[in-house]
């Protein structure tokens, strides 16, 4: 644990900004200055515990989806606050679910909760295209919010019994009808390779075969089921093991089980990592097999988690001894993820300047962070609406952002809630190629240039991100250099060379500087913000 033993005793505003970028979605400089006055230990504890009141977020949700539902005929477009459509009967679609989650990321009073959920979504990558049920996808994300800080063993078992995951990696198809049937090993392989141990790290094909056997007959029952004619449309689901028992909920269907079969679960014993257990109630119908991963392969599992967590929260390139030291932190904390991350965030090592801007930021977190920095917070965004309900709240129009661009997040290389495979996205340098970079510049334009389009029948312009440059400048800038410095302080790119800064200022401010409120001045400010966001430095965090 040596690496993480030395505590950070005091922190500077720059340290706080680094913490905010990694453990959340960024902090404005003013907020960082305030936090820097507080003790690091209690501040990190409260941040990780997510102790801020979320009532305002919940209250805003019915108005959160600022979207342009097209009007037909003479009806005006409905550019108005709506709740997100997240229930199957609407029907829910991926763009609204993406918009909903990203809206939460932007306004969450506890950003760490959402950042950690985003981490777990990357870790347990599950895709909506195959799951084909948005409420179940969001149920899984909610699992990450509620159990993401807790002991990893509890989370791993809960994910293994999560309906979206059970569809995604075919646990619901892992049924045996007769003794000779071969179990489906999709989940058994990936839970070891991708979710707990890493490729070929402490298991072999025989372990996969046995684990697949232990998980046979797992299923779930659909709940909150609005359309009896369509058994695949339901808003919730409950895990169950099918052992030939009667359906305990006669009004709800078995979704993938076939209740006419006497049993869909193997009987006898299984042997995993050298431990032999009965397949029945003694092993909690296979649930203990998932527990064995942590008890029998604790070192390997903690090492795998250390690698993944450090890669996400600290740096992609760390010496083996550092990873091993964080593995030991996880072991010492009995796999409690929140407690382990508190050790990381309080350590002097985390704040080593070499780690600042050492990571390419993923496109979803990048977009959310810029929106948080350039847009008003939740209370300010609600203010116009509270004054007059005819005014929409000034929220980021995330569903429209996704829709207008066929899919903003898809094109930037992170189709939120819909990764292509169970290994999620390749992080760091893997986020960037010439096409995802191109689409980042499109997002930068939407955010910095107040991109909008058209109008409704009242000829009111509509913006994706309704920014006001005066909110970016708490103090009046006296020069173009002042403008640049403030934008850099706000947007927090990696250091930008002075030669590049001067070239941009020459390009953008051909005329003598004046903070005169004229459109040309706003135009210049937005151009500069746009160029900063398009720079290679701004892709780091």
């Amino acid at each position: 644990m040596a690496t993480f033993d030395a505590l950070k005793s005091t922190w500077t505003p720059d340290d706080v900004l680094h913490f905010g970028r990694r453990a959340g979605f960024g902090l404005k400089p003013e907020a960082a200055a305030t936090l820097a006055m507080r003790a690091i230990g209690t501040t990190v504890d409260a941040w990780v515990d997510g102790s801020a009141d979320e009532a305002a977020l919940t209250a805003a949700l019915p108005l959160a989806n600022v979207v342009d539902y097209p009007g037909y005929g003479n009806e005006p477009d409905q550019w108005a606050p709506h709740p997100f459509n997240l229930r199957v009967e609407h029907p829910a679609d991926l763009t609204e679910a993406q918009g909903y989650w990203v809206w939460r990321m932007q306004y969450a009073p506890n950003p760490f909760t959402e950042k950690l959920a985003l981490y777990w979504h990357q870790h347990f990558a599950t895709g909506a295209k195959k799951v084909d049920n948005i409420p179940l996808m969001l149920k899984q994300i909610q699992l990450f919010r509620s159990l993401g800080r807790g002991p990893f063993g509890d989370l791993l078992l809960a994910v293994s019994q999560d309906p979206a995951m059970m569809i995604w990696l075919d646990t619901v198809q892992n049924k045996v009808e007769k003794a000779s049937d071969v179990p489906n090993e999709n989940y058994a392989r990936e839970v070891l390779e991708l979710y707990s141990l890493g490729i070929d790290n402490g298991y072999n094909q025989q372990d996969i075969t046995e684990l697949a056997k232990a998980l046979t007959g797992w299923d779930y029952i659909g709940r909150d089921f609005p359309d009896p004619k369509n058994p695949y449309y339901y808003n919730d689901a409950e895990f169950i093991v099918y052992r030939g028992q009667a359906n305990p909920y006669p009004d709800h269907p078995w979704l993938h089980g076939y209740a006419m079969l006497p049993n869909q679960r193997k009987s006898g014993t299984f042997t995993l990592f050298g431990v032999t257990l009965d397949l029945g109630a003694d092993s909690h119908y296979g649930a203990d097999a998932i527990r064995l991963i942590l008890t029998q392969r604790a070192q390997a599992c903690a090492g795998f988690l250390a690698q993944r967590l450090l890669h996400f929260f600290l740096s992609p390139e760390l010496p083996a001894n550092v990873v091993n030291d964080f593995r030991d932190v996880i072991l010492a904390n009995n796999f409690a993820i929140g407690r382990s991350l508190k050790v990381l965030f309080k350590s002097a090592y985390f704040y080593d300047p070499a780690h600042r801007f050492a990571l390419v930021e993923g496109p979803v977190a990048w977009s959310v962070r810029i929106a948080r920095l350039l847009m008003p917070d939740l209370a300010s965004a609600m203010a116009p609406y509270l004054q007059n309900p005819a005014n929409p709240p000034r929220f980021g129009a995330w569903s429209a952002f996704v829709n207008w661009d066929t899919s903003g997040f898809f094109n930037m290389g992170q189709d939120l809630l819909n990764p292509k495979g169970p290994n999620g996205w390749k992080e760091h340098g893997g986020w960037l190629n010439s096409d995802t970079y191109r689409h980042r510049t499109r997002t930068a334009y939407a955010l910095a240039a107040k991109e909008g389009r058209g109008d409704d029948h009242n000829h009111v312009p509509r913006f994706l991100f309704d920014t006001d440059i005066h909110e970016w400048f708490p103090a009046t800038p006296a020069s173009a250099l002042d403008v640049f410095n403030r934008l850099v302080a706000l947007l927090q790119p990696a250091p930008i060379p002075t030669g590049l800064r001067d070239a941009w200022l020459t390009l953008v401010w051909a005329k003598p500087f004046a903070w005169d409120g004229k459109p040309a001045t706003e135009d210049a400010v937005r151009r500069l913000a746009f160029l900063i966001l398009c720079s290679p430095q701004a892709q780091q965090h």
């Binding site: 990696l169 075919d170 198809q173 892992n174 049924k175 009808e177 049937d181 071969v182 179990p183 489906n184 090993e185 999709n186 392989r189 490729i199 070929d200 094909q205 992609p316 050492a358 390419v360 207008w404 661009d405 094109n411 290389g413 292509k420 495979g421 760091h428 340098g429 986020w431 960037l432 190629n433 010439s434 970079y437 191109r438 689409h439 510049t441 499109r442 334009y445 939407a446 240039a449 107040k450 991109e451 909008g452 389009r453 990696a494 930008i496 060379p497 590049l500 941009w504 390009l507 135009d523 937005r526 151009r527 746009f530 160029l531 398009c534 720079s535 290679p536 430095q537 892709q539 780091q540």
Partner: protein, 442 residues
């Protein structure tokens, strides 16, 4: 035919497979009669002076045995025994000879085969196979005697493409797999020709008017940032600069109007089978886009398309025929479309070679409705310059490894060596870091 098969099998069962030697060249269907007893197919066209390579990867692990089906001999018995519910009826296949039937669901491929334009590589794989998708795909893409951090096509780009000013030489239409990353050069990836310019705005207006001067500032971001001091900054500089260099060249060449293909592609309104999709970035979409880039004479030598969905652990009987159909229909539409394209350097069909693979094949024995991860898979090469036929010995289904998987018969690097030496005209030894014999289909 049977004698050749025995010869191939002997060679593969001996040292050839283990040492990565090819089973060299004897499988062409260019003898006195064509496949199925028809007239012999026309001979392959000679290698063009300006060759184009189109690479297609099928992600997820494409099953070999339900695509090229064992329909005779000991293999057929083993296949039918281990796949009691999923087995493909020999009557639903086209005889390729050597006891192999081509699944008729692989739309259009039988016709291409009968024209003598498909080289089949059943059993392609690697020594010490991994059953991990992600490791297997990376090993395939690295394509090296000693896998390192670069891909075989990236190393080819290092060798053949200019360091800068040549951004369109290699284009991927979906992502940037490891295989396209070199030391000095990566491929550019362009998922769609729409609004491919900088700044690339999404709507008709934003508050910044006259965005053209911004281009200089964007370029400055790469020109004036010095040497990147971190791996993240390096990745951002390389990818952003490639986009910056490509955008003006590409948008000028591709123009504003889209090409109308000479034949309908799956998913087009005019395509005869309306059940075939054309989702955004579907293979059909990507190949249509590649045909357009060829037709508009982009200075591109290698195109890479990516398709997926082949991880059929469950519902294999439902999904696999559709996957085969979509892939075959897209490939055959593309091949037919190329014939109508006159480029500055010759007819496109004469210039294009298509090769494809998947990271592994699937388990021989079915689970309850699907197939788990396996080893040996299916490789292929299609083109007017291809001598059609079988160029890899079919794996022996009566002699599986301890996990019940097939033993591979042709080292995947032999396919690369053939293409590098005989189509792209560079030394495969330099790119692959080892000597891998040519398979003989070019």
């Amino acid at each position: 035919m049977s004698k050749r098969r025995e010869f191939l099998q002997t060679l593969a069962a001996g040292s050839a497979a283990m040492t990565g030697l090819a089973c060299g060249g004897g499988g062409a269907v260019t003898a006195s009669s064509g496949p199925g007893g028809g007239p012999p197919p026309p001979p392959p066209t000679p290698a063009p002076t300006s060759p184009i390579l189109v690479i297609i990867t099928a992600e997820g692990g494409m099953d070999l045995l339900d695509a090229l089906v064992p329909i005779g001999g000991a293999n057929a018995g083993a296949y039918q025994n281990l796949r009691p519910t999923l087995k493909v009826n020999p009557a639903a296949t086209t005889d390729l000879g050597s006891n192999i039937g081509l699944n008729n669901a692989f739309a259009g491929m039988a016709a291409l085969h009968q024209q003598g334009r498909v080289a089949w590589l059943p059993g392609i794989g690697m020594p010490n196979p991994t059953l991990s998708h992600f490791l297997a795909a990376d090993l395939w893409w690295q394509g090296s005697a000693v896998p390192g951090g670069t891909g075989w096509m990236g190393r080819y780009a290092d060798l053949a493409f200019a360091r800068s000013g040549d951004p369109l030489r290699g284009i991927s239409t979906d992502g940037l797999p490891l295989g396209l990353q070199g030391v000095d050069r990566n491929f550019v990836n362009i998922s769609s020709p729409d609004t491919y310019r900088f700044p690339s705005t999404r709507s008709e207006w934003g508050s910044v008017e006259d965005p053209v001067p911004l281009r200089a500032g964007f370029t400055d971001g790469f020109a004036l940032s010095g040497t990147p001091g971190s791996s993240g900054l390096k990745a951002a500089m390389e990818s952003g600069q490639l986009y910056d260099q490509a955008q003006s060249l590409f948008s000028n060449l591709i123009g504003t109007s889209r090409r109308t293909p000479s034949v309908p592609y799956p998913g087009d309104a005019t395509y005869p089978d309306a059940t075939l999709r054309d989702g955004y970035r579907h293979l059909s979409y990507q190949l249509k886009f590649i045909a357009e880039m060829v037709a508009k004479d982009l200075p591109s030598q290698v195109f890479v398309a990516t398709t997926g969905g082949f991880d059929t652990h469950s519902n294999h009987a439902r999904d696999f025929p559709l996957l085969l159909k979509e892939m075959g229909a897209s490939l055959s539409a593309f091949y037919a479309d190329l014939a109508s394209i006159s480029t500055a350097k010759g007819n496109a069909q004469d210039r294009v070679l298509i090769i494809g693979w998947s990271e592994f094949g699937r388990r021989v024995r079915e689970n309850n409705g699907g197939l788990d991860h396996g080893t040996a898979g299916l490789g292929y090469a299609i083109g007017k310059g291809v001598k059609g036929g079988l160029y890899s010995n079919f794996p022996d289904l009566t002699s599986l490894d301890s996990n019940g998987n097939m033993k591979f018969t042709t080292d995947f690097r032999n396919l690369y060596a053939t293409v590098l030496d005989k189509w792209l005209g560079v030394s495969s030894r330099t790119v692959l870091g080892g000597s891998y014999p040519n398979l003989g289909f070019l």
